[in-house]
């Protein structure tokens, strides 16, 4: 029987990891829900942001927390450009899946060309920082990722629910033609959402760089679990990915404690299948 300390520590680890899942899943879910695009390049942008953070910190001496301010605006415009391209060439949602997969491969090759295929690690003083409460440790980087995930989810929720912009976004996602007929600038708002989603990928990337050792091909290992998070959380729902991320993170961690780490993905995906069967689209 595992000790209580081990159980709590593992649950904490799962919650914090779930926050990161939620942060990365939010951008993907918003893009899927509001723009109807399954943007596979979201994972590539997460890793591009992570590698840029590595570069800024290691080569230019910039604090990684400053990367949280620098990178999202840059990625916002990258997202706008990508979405403009998709609209300009009238790429269908299915073809956008192929396009963004192709883009993912190109970005992976670009990362490998610049930073090589070898592992790199962003070494900062934050890596050693942690808080300890009654023998339970809260690592700084993981905790920061969780807090960012919560703040971003709250912010997106407030904007969507209480602002005209949010109402316009929801109108577009429900009936684009009718929304346009009512004078909502659909094209501009879609570009803004695409930019926001890519900016969220950049935020996730900085957190990934602070927590993990980086390797270009690792971006693919995130796809399964993040898709599970998005599907469990519901498309376009700001809190859904965060809650789903925490549920998956904790279920994985608890499985690791009671059974074996290799069983963790089975449990989380079984949970996904069960929830899709009994409560499709909702937690």
């Amino acid at each position: 029987m595992p000790s209580l300390n081990l159980l709590i520590q593992s649950a904490v680890s799962g919650v914090l990891l779930g926050g990161l899942y939620g942060l990365i899943g939010l951008g993907l879910g918003l893009s899927w829900g509001f723009l109807g695009q399954i943007n596979l390049s979201h994972f590539a942008f997460v890793f591009l942001s992570a590698y840029l953070s590595f570069e800024f910190v290691n080569k230019l001496g910039i604090d990684p927390l400053v990367c949280l301010i620098i990178l999202p605006p840059i990625f916002f415009f990258i997202g706008i450009f990508l979405h403009w391209l998709i609209r300009r060439f009238r790429i269908t949602p299915f073809n956008s899946l192929l396009l963004t997969f192709g883009l993912t491969v190109i970005i992976e090759s670009f990362i490998q060309w610049i930073w090589t295929a070898d592992f790199v690690k962003l070494q900062t003083s934050y890596g050693d920082k942690k808080a300890s409460i009654a023998g339970i440790y809260l690592p700084f980087a993981e905790s920061m990722a969780f807090i960012i995930a919560v703040l971003v989810a709250v912010l997106v929720h407030l904007v969507m629910k209480y602002t005209d912009l949010g109402k316009a976004v929801r109108a577009i996602s429900q009936d684009p033609k009718m929304a346009t007929a009512f004078g909502i600038p659909q094209a501009k708002i879609s570009l803004g959402i695409a930019g926001l989603c890519t900016a969220l990928a950049a935020l996730g990337g900085v957190c990934v760089a602070m927590i993990y050792t980086l390797n270009p091909s690792q971006m693919y290992s995130w796809i399964g679990v993040i898709f599970a998070v998005v599907m469990l959380g519901g498309l376009g729902n700001p809190f859904g990915p965060l809650i789903a991320g925490v549920v998956i993170g904790v279920s994985e961690a608890v499985t690791m404690v009671f059974v074996n780490p290799s069983w963790a993905p089975i449990v989380s995906f079984s949970l996904l299948i069960a929830l899709l069967l009994f409560r499709p689209g909702k937690l």
Binding site: L6, S13, G14, T213, N260, P261, A264
Partner: protein
């Protein structure tokens, strides 16, 4: 009639001499050696080491006039770290690129794929990084990763023997391992060997390759309070686990690794003191092996130019270079490019390489187990066990 006969004879002689001339030209053309490497995908970080080594080896051989007077042309393809792609590409190398000889790819899965193709076409396959000898059933395959035929027993054995020499040797062990095939097999062996060495197993865990949450694994290891942790890792897994341990204020007294990323380990402060099996490190007596000193110098230059984080020769680079040395030795000795002739010679002879003297007359075409125990000390890998091959003035250190 007589005139016709003379004309015909002359024409035949002309055709024959032309044919002979073209034949000689063909023989003088480049010798095409085909292989794949993991140049992209999760194994690319180590694949690049084998690419650099291959380029050095071919430059060396060609600077000596090539093999039997023919310069080597290396037909190298990217198998994307996927064994199924490696299988297709080896098929292409033989049937479409029409290479004269093969060289093995990197990593057990890809080598197993290449071995199947080589067997189908009866080609000799010298390979450098195959981790499960019992799966090597083909009689014309020859490894330079000198693990011996049963590394699942011998590799953990030498690690446990090494740690038994330290003051206050470990009595309990936690075995945590990736399920990556060649790693998993070694860790299962370690469980059995640990019992025979009197080490009590207090924890056994497995994770899937690509696992992201090392926090819980670290917490379980800490909770089990082992004297030693056997980490069955490949690539970055070991460092990720050690970092996760540090985040919960835990640092294992003794931790051994299977195939860690040498560069990443050397850059991580948490990894200092890590133990791993190895057959080459850059110090005597290994640098006295055939061609080692010159190879080390060239590898430094190329690896630094390529931006490798650990530009020193270790087990990967040494076994890779050894494979080319074996091919060169076999062709020079037999004066032949015939696969059967080359295979017969390799099976019956020993070859001096940078990895040491290799032989292939044992079970599964494996010879001596040349693996020793290396340790990361002050961010550099050095051999520490047995004493006879330890770096001068260096010994195994534990907390």
């Amino acid at each position: 009639m007589k005139r016709n006969f003379i004309k015909t004879s002359f024409a035949l002689a002309l055709v024959s001499s032309l044919a002979l001339s073209f034949g000689v030209q063909a023989q003088k053309g480049p010798l095409k050696i085909g292989s794949t490497l993991a140049l992209t995908g999760p194994l690319a970080a180590t694949g690049i080491v084998h690419k650099i080594v291959g380029e050095i080896a071919i430059e060396d051989i060609n600077s000596r006039g090539g093999l039997l007077g023919r310069k080597i042309e290396w037909v190298l393809k990217d198998d994307q770290s996927k064994p199924d792609v490696a299988r297709t590409l080896y098929e292409q190398l033989i049937t479409s690129d029409k290479v004269d000889l093969l060289m093995g790819p990197y990593a057990t899965g890809a080598i197993l794929s290449a071995m199947g193709v080589a067997q189908r076409y009866d080609k000799v396959l010298i390979h450098h990084t195959f981790g499960i000898p019992s799966q090597a059933k083909y009689d014309k395959q020859f490894p330079t990763w000198a693990l011996g035929p049963h590394p699942e027993k011998t590799s953990p054995g030498i690690v446990f023997d090494a740690v038994a020499t330290v003051p206050n040797p470990p009595k309990t062990i936690a075995i945590v391992t990736s399920k990556f095939p060649s790693i998993y097999f070694m860790s299962l062996g370690a469980r059995e060997v640990a019992k025979t060495k009197g080490l009590k197993e207090v924890l056994y865990l497995e994770w899937d390759f690509g696992n992201k949450d090392f926090g819980t694994i670290a917490a379980r290891v800490k909770d089990a309070k082992p004297d030693m942790v056997w980490i069955g890792d490949i690539g970055a897994e070991g460092v990720q686990l050690l970092e996760a341990m540090k985040k919960i204020d835990y640092s294992p007294r003794i931790h051994s690794h299977i195939y860690p990323s040498p560069g990443l380990m050397s850059q991580s402060p948490e990894a200092d003191g890590a133990i791993a099996i190895s057959l080459f490190q850059e110090h005597p007596p290994f640098t006295a092996n055939k061609g080692a000193a010159e190879f080390v110098r060239k590898f430094h230059e190329k690896a630094q130019a390529a931006g490798l984080p650990y530009p020193l020769v270790d087990v990967q680079a040494a076994t890779s270079y050894s494979a080319w040395q074996v091919l060169e030795a076999a062709i020079n000795a037999t004066k032949s490019f015939d696969d059967a002739t080359i295979a017969k010679w390799i099976k019956a002879n020993k070859v001096d390489t940078v990895s040491g003297k290799l032989r292939w007359d044992g079970e599964f075409n494996y010879g001596d187990d040349l693996m020793r125990v290396a340790q990361l000390q002050n961010r550099k890998w050095v051999m520490v066990y047995p004493k006879s091959v330890a770096a001068p003035g260096v010994k195994l250190e534990v907390k």
